[in-house]
Subunit: 377 residues, 2 copies
Amino acid sequence: MSKFGEEWTRGFRDMLTEAGGRAIEDAKMSGAEIDAMYVGTMAPGSLVGQEHIGALVADYMGLTPIPSTRCEAACASGGVALRQGYMAVASGIHDCVAVGGVEKMTDTPGDEIASALGGAGDQEWELFMGATFPAIYAFTARRHMLEYGTTEEQMAAVAVKNHANAAKNKYAHFQNEITIDTVMKSKYVASPLKLFDCAPITDGAAVVVLMPLDKAKKVCEQPIEITASTQASDYLALHSRESMTSLNATKVAAKKAYEQAKVSVKDIDIVEVHDCFTIAEIMAIEDLGFFPKGQGGPASAAGKTALNAEISVNTSGGLKGCGHPVGATGIKQAVEVVWQLRGTAGARQVKDAKVGMTHNVGGSGATAVVHIMKNDA
Amino acid sequence: MSKFGEEWTRGFRDMLTEAGGRAIEDAKMSGAEIDAMYVGTMAPGSLVGQEHIGALVADYMGLTPIPSTRCEAACASGGVALRQGYMAVASGIHDCVAVGGVEKMTDTPGDEIASALGGAGDQEWELFMGATFPAIYAFTARRHMLEYGTTEEQMAAVAVKNHANAAKNKYAHFQNEITIDTVMKSKYVASPLKLFDCAPITDGAAVVVLMPLDKAKKVCEQPIEITASTQASDYLALHSRESMTSLNATKVAAKKAYEQAKVSVKDIDIVEVHDCFTIAEIMAIEDLGFFPKGQGGPASAAGKTALNAEISVNTSGGLKGCGHPVGATGIKQAVEVVWQLRGTAGARQVKDAKVGMTHNVGGSGATAVVHIMKNDA
């Protein structure tokens, strides 16, 4: 991956080619061996006036004339691209596929970013009425507080933990630890969500290389096997959903993923979840089955999701600490799981991590993508 | 497909759900049997402020919680979506997949459309310098005229033929025949391209349903087999290419497609090619191998590409006559080939059409997608 952050001097071509070069090198391949590419990116048209990112990336990475396709599912763009790459290999149509994710966000004024990101929800029913994403997740948080007694301090604990992990990750946007007080004293963006409950606007890119497992075992030092790749959808607008405090797409995708990988939630050692807002991580650890519904807040406050605790959640720092270059996030989650399963995550390494999971959400939950991976060595 | 045209009173939700309902009905399926969806659309973020089209479409078609993914490759968005759907079935991961394409263009002012479409090229090197798409294809046309003696009248013949076909297609944007004079007397948009050399701004949607062939033979009356699905990329900016008068991505994708389908160009009875501008059809019929390089213009002027002539090209009316709702075009091409191979194309039916081809191009040629299909009955 590229260093996540506010990369004022770099465009998304630079970031993605840097990450791509690293991934191909890590896989002990040459570019000539890559025979297809997928790229997850959400809103380059609105943000920087550029569509057709698949071909652009193949061009700038020197991979022309391979097929290269952009996938988009809002903040789950990276996750759906990864799943398409997985299918391309599984179908036998392509042998070696590079999958990237990228977003260049800081070239765009704040109000235009909010407007572009609002396109992840139901534009006609939500954004047009003024409901930007912090507002939509604030509805969710308020409802979670009402139904389960979740507190602002419990949400703050998510941000504190994710900053602590990010401080151990040289690729993370934020390299500093924070306290509950930092979050609680930060300004409200959309009550009850404060500035430190929200993932930042970040530039960045990440790339992984996929190939059939038997081939990977021959060419790579420590190949990681994708044992499940699932995706589900839900109603686009929050008001259409059965519940405001649970993402059905997450539940459907997770159930299928556990079945596909033939594991249960107890087998998962590390998980990267989609914490675009702190309340989103609390819902995710409930919907994925790590904690009973309503217990995500207390579990977070009790430190059960910290590094090497009951379940290590967002060791990369998550969207909150590592940053959230929208299309890159789903791929960055996979990169972090690979590093953890290989035992190369340095100061944030989880002990004996054998099975890892990624959970990538689009919009306020209308797309969820889950992957399970294991170290096959 | 929906009726292509200027659909002032309809949004893309309406058009895509209409086309989707027709496709599912045609396949003798119910929505509950569809287990994944792909949607090709180019620039809904820039054009109507809406991203996350995969989930939106699943929602509005009542298909939630199936996985639904948007693919984008500029004007080849429909083609790449079709290929992803094909892979999803080929991989065995999904059994029955709906693939849609859609673009809602007329809600947007003309200069903003030109800017959004410009994102299909290299924004930093082309659009930013003022090269909108008519200008880029004008370079190509001028060079083709210089290298091969192609004339403006020969290009005009493409538009005349495509309007004649469109006039026989009730779903087409334009229902009127035109003459060489109509084209030659129309105003220059970017010399040598005149108004009638350019595909129009169109609203529309199209959907197909894919499933394994053995299953299709059981449930559908006249299933059509996809015998090849290929894609290639080229440098994004025109100035980087080896040639300005030939699309390498088309040549690479076509070569693979002929190999995959085990046919030669002589076996193709009908072809839908990407005629965003008349010069693009001339290049396409050369690059796909129907005519030697440089002979596309004379062949068009001699009527060799007309209905039931040497090779029936763009029986739907093509992008020029049927209209070009960008993301929908690649799927509309497949719909037309299906109708032709089934013998249900009415007044524009090609006699004994057994094998058909679609050719969908993104930008000025940085993506090309080719499909070959046959009637398996």
